[in-house]
Subunit: 324 residues, 2 copies
């Protein structure tokens, strides 16, 4: 298994894999989000969902779908089955950026190198576009997932999407983030909370972890993964989600506005609780190294198709070593 | 039918009916929304969902469920089947008030005689509580509806809730409202748009109509109403929704802050397009009278159980003649 994966990793063209999946996802999103009335609302929705983004969550969802070994479906059928879910995830992600950037939250003017949604369409439309996207994501999953998947399964996945997004997931994480902002010094000196990293994990698990975990889980679940497989995938995606957020924390310090496409240094300026503000750069890099090793080991033990396993490996490394 | 309904109407205790249903709905909402971490988020959610409100949409949902004549379910079973959906509707309604009251939209300080959500918890938490409620509503419908209802049916109803709430429904209506605000004079003089009331209907159908229509439809749908019954109920609920919003427009002019629990005169001050700002008070009262007659006639022709038919009759009259 080790040798095989090492081999396929060397011949696997990750850049092409990402590019192909991205085209697929964006074509599908474009079709789902045909502009209707009221025009301004739909323009605002399309602006945030379609213009840019790495699509990593959606690609993760497709990849775990492909990772589940089974004989009934072709590669293309797997992709078509999981694609609506992958698109729903991108809608939720876009929505979270729109609301996050609002003056009431992070008050950001720049996102992916362009003005944020409310800078273009105004706060009212940005707020409402985010609301609409939450509903569109559920509608997409419920109505676009091919009927060869049982409605029980689709409903279970939709419910988990809501949980990952709402008070127990992303939204909850944002509230923890708000609550702890400005309390870096206190956490550092209290030691108890900081040393077991529970505060950070509370924030990270919700803010980014929940949707990344859902992305990995849902692709496999829709294709009929066993509980054992789902358990393995969950373990891996927890490491991936944590690594992704810690890399983000680091980029806020080391990145520049051009490659980031957003304003760096904002976490520090806002006195946010992040890995870097709590433990410093060196400790953060060392944590990332450990997470990379942990994630790769989990994948070595994952019983799945060889190419998707390689893709998951590369996704983890990309999440850690990316520059934006 | 006429005689029977006239009789049951005279003996039917509407106040008790409303009070009983309200207790049921609020007890269930309270159980669904048990306070968890992060505390501030859940407090904010509970503040807007549990403290006050007429629960008319939820009661409408229960009532159409009871109106569908069928022999398999007892009254109590019907109520238990529809209750999660009725609660989901109240969550959506509460969420719409929270986001509507934000400075980015209507900037209201007072709601149901109390400070609005963001006045108590701040804009960030109010924004996030609204987002969380959209997800909680879907979760409630998907997981709390008794399993005697097929998952296909539950998924269909959940999807319709999302449509009624999102870009094609409530959110879309709010955008139309924003777009036309300040254009009363223009619409009045242009004549074309104002005279066929299409602009107003576009706003009303979305802003309040969509969720009221869903409330009526979903109760009957979950209990297995026929397409013919659903068609009749849709026709009635369109009239009810329109009447409800026009009565709201009128209350903005005639109501006082004490009975309204919110600041009156805001539509006129903001130069909003409403029935009153476009056509004046007299014309608005006359339109309401016509709608009452139309709604009652539709109910006379509705083939349903006698007490729920009376309750629907009284709900229409209450929507029109209420003081808050």
């Amino acid at each position: 298994m080790q040798t095989e994966s090492a081999h396929s990793q060397s011949t696997f063209d990750f850049a092409t894999y990402l590019a192909e999946k991205r085209v697929l996802i964006e074509r599908e999103l474009d079709a789902y989000l045909i502009s209707k009335e009221p025009k301004m609302l739909w323009e605002s929705i399309r602006y945030s969902v379609l213009e840019g983004g790495k699509r990593l969550r959606a690609i993760l969802c497709l990849t775990t779908g492909l990772a589940v070994i089974q004989e009934k479906l072709s590669t293309d059928e797997v992709v078509q089955t999981v694609l609506p879910c992958a698109c729903a995830i991108e809608m939720i992600h876009a929505m979270s950026l729109i609301h996050d950037d609002l003056p009431a939250l992070d008050n950001d003017d720049l996102r992916r190198g362009k003005p944020t949604n409310h800078k273009v369409y105004g706060e009212a439309i940005a707020l409402l576009a985010g609301d609409a996207l939450l509903m569109l994501a559920c509608e997409t999953l419920l109505t676009k997932t091919p009927k060869l998947i049982s409605m029980d399964s689709i409903a279970t996945v939709t419910n988990e999407l809501c949980r990952a997004t709402g008070a127990e997931g992303m939204v909850g994480g944002q509230v923890y983030d708000l609550e702890f902002t400005g309390r870096v010094e206190q956490l550092r000196t209290e030691g108890g909370i900081a040393s077991d990293t529970s505060t950070l994990e509370l924030i990270h698990r919700g803010k980014t972890g929940a949707l990344i975990k859902f992305s990995a889980w849902s692709g496999a679940k829709l294709i009929g993964a066993s509980d054992k497989e789902l358990g393995q995938i969950n373990k891996f995606s927890e490491v991936l989600g944590l690594a992704f957020q810690i890399a983000d924390d680091l980029l806020d310090v080391t990145g520049d506005v051009k490659s980031l496409g957003k304003t760096p240094g904002k976490d520090q300026a806002a006195n946010k609780v992040t890995w870097v503000t709590l433990f410093g750069e060196e400790e953060t890099r060392s944590r990332l190294k450990h997470l990379e090793a942990e994630g790769l080991e989990l994948l070595d033990n994952l019983d799945c198709a060889s190419e998707p396993a390689t893709a998951l490996r590369r996704l983890l490394q990309y999440a850690i070593h990316r520059s934006n």
